[in-house]
Amino acid sequence: MSSLAARLALVLLAALALGRVALAVDPTQMPTPQLEARYLALTHELRCMQCQNESLADSPVELAADLRAEVRDMLIAGKSDDEVRAFMVARYGDFILFRPRFTARTAWLWLAPGILLLIGAAVLVRVIVKRGALLATDPGPVEDDGRS
């Protein structure tokens, strides 16, 4: 048991110091391939709370191993992915999710790419229309053979 404590301390130090330098190899076997796939997906989607920006799947710290065990047990007990996420969020807050939930407070983040594309499209239309119109008054060819 004392070697466990020593290892814990070392691993904690290492993880706190730098993060992703010692890896976690997680030989957990799930009873079916579907559960295996869900387990892998979830452990990659949940953050290790003790590390700087690592997922549960990759983190070598003891807490991550404990949390992975929770995920495994919940999946074997038949819980859904959402129930697993809710379990984690109830205890650790939204910060444990790498995929932010779509709520009133995060809507701006998820809608941003689409809105930006729409703005981009508007700019594109405006410029192309304007320049297309100018083409009539823009005499002559472009220098060189016109291709490069």
Partner: protein, 651 residues
């Protein structure tokens, strides 16, 4: 003695940077010819002083002078010589010095090239670079002095961070910073144009090679970091959308838009205010990256020791410099008008699409990276953003861009004339689709919908990039480096798309627990664990595993992953062992001792992963090739032609 000399040299460099900035901006502004002429001397002097300071610090490292705090924090008597030198940029203070050195080097290069520029314009460019140098030198001397002493001196050092004791990662910062810092040159050209009140095609022609080279370096730096992460960390991944990774990727995305926008301004005098804004934006993102990494506002595996006080300094510097540039922009940009026109199917049109989509992509990454900060500041609660957000949103803007690329590079300026190439384009598309579907389902027999789409796009891009060069060669036209470079870079991009699609779709990963002698089958390979043995390194102890890989009984490789324990910093580092077999990367990493001779082992088979970084290298080479084209070197001083330029600025 040496540290004091280095410190003194930095102070002199600060003064010279101030003079450089003053002479460069006030000289032309007030019409003082003597001041304008003095700029290059200030540039040379500043470079010499900075190089002296860097030399002193390296000497302190090599001599193991542990009375210097920075050396004591980042070195050790057992550290091999090579790493004692690269330890220079191993932490915050030294990496800042590296930044300053590279900026000084770029400035010297620009000063030499400025011989071809109009005197006052060249002086302004150097003056703006002087402002940037001044800011960084002041920041270093005020908050991050690498020459501080320890009294009493440390007996031995705390050792360089073990993960930095690797050749690839040792080289990563200089290459990355060369790119990062290089965007300051484009920024300086932009500011100089705004100060002059004129921006014409000639300006674009001057700016292009500098920007393209900086872009190429940045791309290499990013690729190197990703390559190192894959080969060293044992995690088997190569991109995590970590805030610091994003901090270098965003300037690259905007830089890509910039080099393309410059092409349009050069060729047709269009998109001037776009190009100006992109030049400011690219450098702003570089500066922002510096801020994010060193101020502690974001959670990241990479950040330097966070210090909010330093963060405030950088923020103020950022605010003044970028704010100033954007104010200039608001003042001058309205005057930049052009009456050129172009068709919907013209090259300009596609490059406009390119600009918009790349900026949207960069903005998306920006939103995701800063979301935790924004959410916290606006009291919206904590939010954390990772790959599940970035991957789909990034693809949203990139997929259309990849689809438009083959058309864009075959479109002519002004009127497009895509109809002339219609048959060729459709044929290449057909070939691409057939090959993609064939390989995806023929060789691998499975895959998601996006797999053949990605592969087809990648192949189409490559084929489409060959159309123009082949056509020119057949018509016995010249093949200037600019055209070759452009085609090469786009081919590199196509290869990257193919590689990324393949890796994302067909990687096989398994973590297993094996006892010595036990074997497991992953993909079409058999991996037999042959046990572990202790290994001694120069400054670490390790446990080395042996794994024998066979395929259908025939031996393929013997892999030797290690778990290292560095003596001084007590860090446990995993060293993966990788072998290339028929285009597949076989990756093995040692996990934990599960007792009774059993170990957990990570096995991954990643097809074509090395192609990703090869492709990035090809892209950078293409850029470098294009930048070396004759047309940039024959640009002559346009001072005498000023009268027509005045018409440009007004109309």
């Amino acid at each position: 003695m040496l540290p004091e000399l280095g410190h003194f040299a930095l102070i002199l460099a600060l003064l010279l940077a101030a003079l450089q900035a003053f002479f460069g901006i006030a000289g032309p502004g007030l019409g003082r010819e003597r001041w304008t002429g003095a700029v290059t001397s200030a540039v040379a002097g500043q470079f010499v002083m900075v190089a002296t300071a860097v030399g002193c610090l390296i000497a302190c490292f090599v001599n193991e002078d542990f009375s210097v705090r920075y050396v004591a924090e980042n070195s050790n008597s057992a550290l091999p010589l090579f790493y004692r030198v690269t330890a220079l940029w191993g932490a915050h203070e030294g990496s800042l010095l590296l930044w300053i050195l590279l900026l000084a080097a770029w400035t010297v290069a620009v000063a030499i090239g400025a011989a071809r520029l109009p005197r006052r314009f060249g002086a302004r460019v150097l003056g703006v670079l002087g402002v940037v140098s001044f800011g960084f030198l002041l920041f270093t001397l005020a908050t991050s002095n690498p020459f501080l002493r320890l009294d009493p001196p440390a007996g031995d050092g705390a050792d360089l961070n073990p993960i930095l004791q690797d050749p690839a990662l040792a080289v990563h910062p200089p290459i990355l910073y060369t790119g990062y810092v290089g965007f300051a040159v484009a920024f300086a050209f932009a500011c100089a144009a705004m100060l002059e009140g004129r921006l014409d095609q000639q300006w674009a022609r001057w700016t292009r090679p500098w920007t393209t080279v900086a872009w190429a370096f940045l791309g290499c730096g990013i690729a190197l970091g990703s390559f190192w992460a894959y080969y060293e960390l044992g995690w088997g991944g190569f991109w995590f959308w970590d805030p610091v990774e994003n901090a270098s990727f965003m300037p690259w995305l905007v830089g890509t838009a910039l080099i393309h926008s410059l092409a349009v301004t050069d060729k047709r005098g269009l998109f001037k205010s776009w190009t100006l804004l992109l030049a400011i934006l690219a450098f702003s993102l570089s500066m922002l990256g510096t801020f994010l990494v060193r101020s502690g506002v974001l959670v990241s595996v990479h950040s330097f020791a966070a210090d909010p006080a330093r963060g405030i300094f950088i923020l103020v510097f950022l605010a003044l410099m970028i704010g100033g540039a954007l104010t200039l922009y608001a003042w001058r940009a309205p005057l930049l008008k052009s009456t050129a026109g172009f068709d919907l199917g013209a090259r300009e049109s596609f490059l406009l699409f390119n600009n918009v989509l790349l900026v949207v992509a960069a903005a998306t990454v920006f939103a995701g990276t800063l979301a935790p900060l924004v959410s916290d500041a606006l009291q919206l609660g904590t939010v954390s953003v990772g790959p599940p957000y970035f991957n789909p949103t990034f693809m949203l803007s990139m997929l259309p861009l990849m689809a438009l690329l083959p058309l864009g590079i075959n479109a002519a300026w002004k009127r497009g004339h895509l109809r002339d190439r219609q048959r060729t384009l459709l044929m290449t598309l057909a070939v691409a689709v057939i090959l993609a579907v064939g390989v995806a389902f023929g060789v691998y027999a499975h895959g998601a919908v996006l797999t053949p789409v990605g592969a087809a796009l990648g192949i189409w891009i490559i084929l489409a990039s060959l159309v123009d060069p082949i056509d020119r060669w057949r018509r016995r036209l010249s093949l200037p480096r600019a055209v070759l470079g452009m085609s090469l870079a786009h081919i590199g991009l196509g290869l990257a798309v193919i590689a990324l699609t393949t890796v994302q779709s067909f990687t096989v990963e398994r973590d297993v627990a094996l006892a010595a002698g036990a074997s497991t089958r992953v993909g079409s390979y058999d991996f037999r664990f042959d046990g572990v043995a202790p290994v001694e390194g120069p400054n670490y102890d390790a446990i080395g595993g042996t794994i024998t890989v066979t395929r259908d009984g025939a031996p393929v490789a013997v892999l030797k992953p290690e778990k290292r324990q560095y003596w001084v910093q007590h860090q446990a580092i995993t060293q993966t062992s990788i072998h290339m077999s028929r285009g597949n990367n076989l990756l093995v990493a040692l996990g934990d001792d599960l007792g009774a001779g059993r170990w957990s082992i990570r096995i991954q088979i990643r097809p074509l992963v090395t192609l990703i970084w090869l492709a990035a290298l090809i892209m950078a080479l293409g850029g470098a090739l294009a930048a070396s084209d004759r047309r940039y070197r024959s640009a002559r001083a346009a001072e005498a032609v000023a009268p027509t330029a005045a018409g440009e600025a007004a109309g």
